[in-house]
């Protein structure tokens, strides 16, 4: 079993869900409460990674990170290295790939908060930000945990995009799903099976946590 690949995947998933929490909260807040007419366009863009095949995303990312695209050139000039084949590159790719898994549960939770409480908070002269932190977020904890756990689990199991932009470097971009694929390709079915089984157990556990939280199994 490849612990290095597993550790890398956990690290990637942790970084990605932490960053997604920060950018997901404001996006979800905006999606939940904005009355802008063209909001549906933003919602569609956020949901795109749900329907796009990872190959499409991976292909565009590979081209965008390459030295021939304006973005890739900018990054190359700033850091002396392209974003492809690096851990940072995987983080950027996974942020895009897992965005809907964070934003959609967040937004759904915000929407279901009793608006009278929000209005009461406003009439008491509390700022919007404070209302968000003190009223909306605590009442949405189940949705927020769901979003975080889902993006963590989704990044953990990510395969196609990593395959397309990672370059399979041990300890840098060889994640656990890539490692399993390599083992299968090399006909090491026993090793593949061990790692796959572990990933299956971890995935089942994370999903159980999500559903337990939603069912309020533990009073919080």
């Amino acid at each position: 079993m490849s612990w290095q690949a597993l550790a890398l995947s956990v690290k990637l998933a942790a970084v990605v869900s932490a960053v997604l929490c920060m950018i997901g909260l404001p996006i979800a807040y905006w999606i939940a409460y904005s009355r802008w007419r063209w909001k549906f366009l933003v919602e569609s863009v956020v949901a795109l990674p749900l329907v796009l095949p990872p190959t499409v995303l991976g292909f565009y990312l590979l081209v965008a990170m390459g030295p021939r695209s304006p973005l890739g050139r900018l990054w190359l000039r700033a850091f002396g290295h392209t974003l492809s084949f690096t851990f940072e590159g995987l983080v950027v790719a996974s942020l895009i790939y897992s965005l809907p898994f964070t934003v959609q549960p967040f937004a759904a939770a915000f929407r279901s908060v009793d608006q009278q409480l929000v209005q009461a908070s406003a009439t008491l002269g509390v700022s919007r930000l404070r209302t968000f932190v003190r009223v909306i977020v605590p009442l949405s904890y189940a949705g927020i945990i769901t979003g975080l756990v889902l993006s963590f689990a989704h990044t953990l199991g990510e395969f196609g995009v990593v395959l397309m932009v990672g370059g399979n470097i041990p300890g840098v971009t060889r994640t656990v799903s890539i490692d399993i694929y390599d083992q299968v390709q090399s006909l090491n079915y026993v090793a593949a099976n061990q790692t796959a089984l572990l990933l299956l157990a971890v995935s089942f556990l994370t999903l159980s946590v999500v559903y337990a939280v939603n069912r309020k199994v533990w009073a919080l």
Binding site: H81, T82, D182, V184, Q185
Partner: protein
């Protein structure tokens, strides 16, 4: 009621008419994409039969055949996978045939400042080279050859941190072609392919620096159309088809030059 019967009859006839000429499904390693497409096309024109081509990683096809995929012919990028199939009784040993030997090249995208013809393998040490794309040596024959060539020219230790691994040789090509890697060790067949021919320069790595990449084909026992599968393999043996293979950088099988 009558129209229903006539309709059913017409439907049946159309199906029979459609499938009247034979059809085979061929699984082939991705380095054969262009050569085999052309060969299959000629075969179709000559015989009126239909050849469905599936290109991908030899290891994937091997696993699929092991699990009951019904391919009529399997063109691997090595000899090991077909041999393993015959050992496991999943392919008929007499049908195993080494159809050619692949070669590897150093490939740089157009616009690269590296003069491969002049520098040869030393281009790999140029400071402008940060990433070198090869196929994954753990399971891709071309990746193994690339590593062997690096080792025999005593460069492996110096460049090993720069290696990025493509899932197969086509993906390694994608990494260099898009400019994400500055150099790649690719199959000659890809460097000569229409999609890459004008997009970069290549230098052929001397064949004595890596073990020959012998590639074999085999007919799985579960092939639905054995007769046509054999006919197709026979066609690949003809000088006409062999010329196409050679044109795409495959050396003729050893002993049959």
């Amino acid at each position: 009621m009558k129209t229903w019967r006539i309709g059913a009859l017409l439907w049946l006839i159309s199906i029979l008419a459609w499938s009247a000429p034979g059809e085979i499904t061929v699984a082939a390693a991705s380095d054969l994409t262009f050569a085999l497409t052309e060969i299959a096309h000629r075969f179709e024109q000559k015989t009126g039969n239909h050849v469905k081509l599936a290109f991908g990683s030899s290891g994937n096809f091997f696993a699929q055949i092991q699990n009951g995929a019904s391919f009529d012919v399997f063109f691997s990028a090595d000899v090991e996978y077909p041999r393993k199939l015959t050992v496991g009784g999943l392919a008929a040993a007499p049908t195993l045939w080494v159809y050619g030997t692949g070669r590897i090249v150093l490939w740089a995208p157009a616009g690269s400042s590296l003069d491969l013809k002049k520098m040869g393998m030393r281009a790999l040490l140029d400071p402008s080279v940060q990433e070198i794309a090869i196929a994954n040596p753990a399971h891709a024959p071309y990746g193994r050859a690339a590593v062997a060539a690096l080792q025999s020219s005593r460069l492996y230790e110096q460049v090993r941190d720069k290696l990025v691994l493509g899932e197969n040789i086509s993906q390694a090509a994608q990494f260099v072609e898009s400019g994400n890697a500055q150099l790649g060790i690719l199959a000659l067949s890809l460097a000569l392919a229409p999609t890459l021919k004008d997009k970069g320069t290549y230098w052929e790595i001397p064949t004595d620096s890596y073990p020959p990449i012998e590639q074999a084909a085999v007919i799985p026992t579960a092939a639905p159309n054995q007769a046509l599968a054999r006919a197709f393999l026979d066609y690949v043996r003809t000088p006409e088809a062999q010329a196409i293979l050679r044109q795409y950088g495959f050396q003729p099988p050893p002993g049959k030059r």
